[in-house]
Symmetry: C2
Subunit: 137 residues, 2 copies
Amino acid sequence: MKPTHIEHIGIAVSSLEEAIPYYEMVLGLKCYSIEEVADQKVRTAFFMVGQTKIELLESTDPEGTISKFIEKRGEGIHHLAFAVGNIEESLSELSLAGVKLIDQSPRKGAEGLSIAFLHPKSTFGVLTELCEDKNKK
Amino acid sequence: MKPTHIEHIGIAVSSLEEAIPYYEMVLGLKCYSIEEVADQKVRTAFFMVGQTKIELLESTDPEGTISKFIEKRGEGIHHLAFAVGNIEESLSELSLAGVKLIDQSPRKGAEGLSIAFLHPKSTFGVLTELCEDKNKK
């Protein structure tokens, strides 16, 4: 596989309402979308910086992964997402290379992207996501 | 301030020698530079993905910040760096907005960039770096 760019950086926050003003008024970025992803038990807020999105993640469930992450490590960077041209092919290659996949096949993520996560045990501690925008084809 | 793009993502690893083959052979990225930054007590390895660099950080000192980070949290994403047009101006604006600065004025980072860090207590848990490439002017 060969990622084309960093699609987004996922950042866990306790409250979108508190974090958005920092990103908008202090960093000067514009929040262009707020979306709930029920499947992942999160509400997300998106900002564009060059080619890359910042995706703030607020948990909608105290038992969700973002709640657990914040409980254990505090707010902060949660995952790194690469844009790839063909997510199924990329997952096959990674699996063959011995990378442990959280998602064996792609599922639907925020913004209608096809996404899949790799296990941080196989990626030197970085929770890694692959994204393909099938709407662009 | 208004960052133009994500300049790089800093990732703490125990060993560059072990992590580089994963980034090169599994993710398909090319390591184009390895550099020691004595000031920060790290050896760094750089990979380009679209507009953004991945900067792997290996500690050269058991008392350094990267050693401490890995000891506490394990390997993983360490910081997020925004490219800005004028780093002195950006730091003044952030300081006025009440953001706690780790570096009150810019210092020299890897690749000859002018860099400064913001305190994660002011940035919703994200250790944030600003970078200006003064060689580009």
